[in-house]
Symmetry: C2
Subunit: 313 residues, 2 copies
Amino acid sequence: MYAGIDVGGTNLKAGVCDADGRLLAIRKAPLPAFTGAEDFARLLAELVKDVAREAGIPPRELAWTGIGIPGAAAEGKVIYTCNIPLTGAPLGELFRRHLDVPVYLGNDADCAAVGEYFCGTGRGTQDFIVITLGTGIGGGLILNGKVYAGSGMAGEVGHMVIEKDGVLCNCGRRGCWEAYASATGLVRMTREMIQQNPDSGLAALAAEQGEVTARTAFLAAARGDAAGEELRLRYLSYLAAGVINLVNIFQPQVLALGGGVSNERRELLLEPLQALVEKECYARHGGAMTRIVAAELGNDAGVIGAALLPKAK
Amino acid sequence: MYAGIDVGGTNLKAGVCDADGRLLAIRKAPLPAFTGAEDFARLLAELVKDVAREAGIPPRELAWTGIGIPGAAAEGKVIYTCNIPLTGAPLGELFRRHLDVPVYLGNDADCAAVGEYFCGTGRGTQDFIVITLGTGIGGGLILNGKVYAGSGMAGEVGHMVIEKDGVLCNCGRRGCWEAYASATGLVRMTREMIQQNPDSGLAALAAEQGEVTARTAFLAAARGDAAGEELRLRYLSYLAAGVINLVNIFQPQVLALGGGVSNERRELLLEPLQALVEKECYARHGGAMTRIVAAELGNDAGVIGAALLPKAK
């Protein structure tokens, strides 16, 4: 049995699963105030012990623990994290002081891709990409059946410029894909559209709901509002720009979209996106066509993938 | 000993090299009028036999022949070629009718990357990218020490949109990197700059040389011409946009630039490009920095890499 931990921005999640990625138990805990890498490692180990016992497994009998962090790691050490000050910490070694099983560290988006690869839409593929459309854009790359991490920080597909000198991105570049095609980017474009079209159904819907979300555009479009529909098509064109870039670079068998946006109605998002890919991608000249799908595993992909991480190393 | 063939747009080149990629003999022949895949395969086999004899190797004693084609191949079959009608041809099988050694097919840009990986600037790396700035932009990806080809047509990095709704590319998309950062793109931008600045040193230089080439901008910039310098910086910013995208996606140890443009003076091209990468790439947040270098092997990279292709499969 394998343990996986997903270190998120606000929560910790730990689970135990079998070789097929079936979760036997899962626990969630709020991310506590950070009091040092040693405390953090002990907390993770305690969480794994708890969830293992819940699954009926003596913790020491776990084959390993995989840990997905919002950052990069190599050889048991954290190279970089963006929201927890763990950079440089020998997290694997610290963890093993409290639970002596092998520890594998990986990027959280990579872990989500591993979960989806073994247990979701990536099953049976060799080259598989998961793009998560959230606050930012996360990318997990499975190439030749293995996680690809470069020197530890590869897969930053959100920070691919698709509009030179465009909107300023959090990373410091201008025109990154993330600034347009993430949920945050969609909310920004929705706000701009409402400002330009204060009398639209889109504006009315936002007023009615009391907020602008990444769903507003799609809801307005589904109701037949012209501004909503224009916005949906604009968002699609930005989303497609990056997706087609990745298809041209990787030509994976499957590219899965995750995050809330990927749950929009197929005919409003995935189907037109697949059509744009087939119209513009380079492999239309004769190669195999990448299938664009919605990720299946949802929020548990990160835990399952962390648990199965060593199988894709 | 290993034979390699580089099938170019105008020439065929065949060579025999040892395990270290040292060429023992090399032969060039003009690409003849195409009279069918069978004739073409026989011609390739004859060329290999000739060059093997020249190297003092009985052709049947070659360990294998690797063939780089301008297109994609899988399992001995051509999936797609762009300038020779070989699509669908079982080129490996046809070749073996005339010279019965194992045959490996690959993309020509991938072969050039393999050559550079084993015998040039990629030595000692695990993740290595070669970008060739020519008529178009070729990309060869060595990931985890192996050629990455996806479903056969991966690595089309030139057809990555960096300027949404920008200049029309040959591939049908708008704003592809290739339309700006290839030698062809630089010539186009040079022509536009001359038209806008007919009294510039850049325009005078082009008139003096009787033509606009991919060197004109750099020559004018080196002479201190303001329009030439502005153009050099503009070209650099387009080149950097795509290079940084690739660094963010792959975080390779080394990214090598090939093609004529890569031979420009270091302080005018490679050094400012490296500085832009270090300023903008995501790994500046703590990861390992990709080194940007000029490819070393030049025109023979394709032949050497084709010969060594199976070592990176």
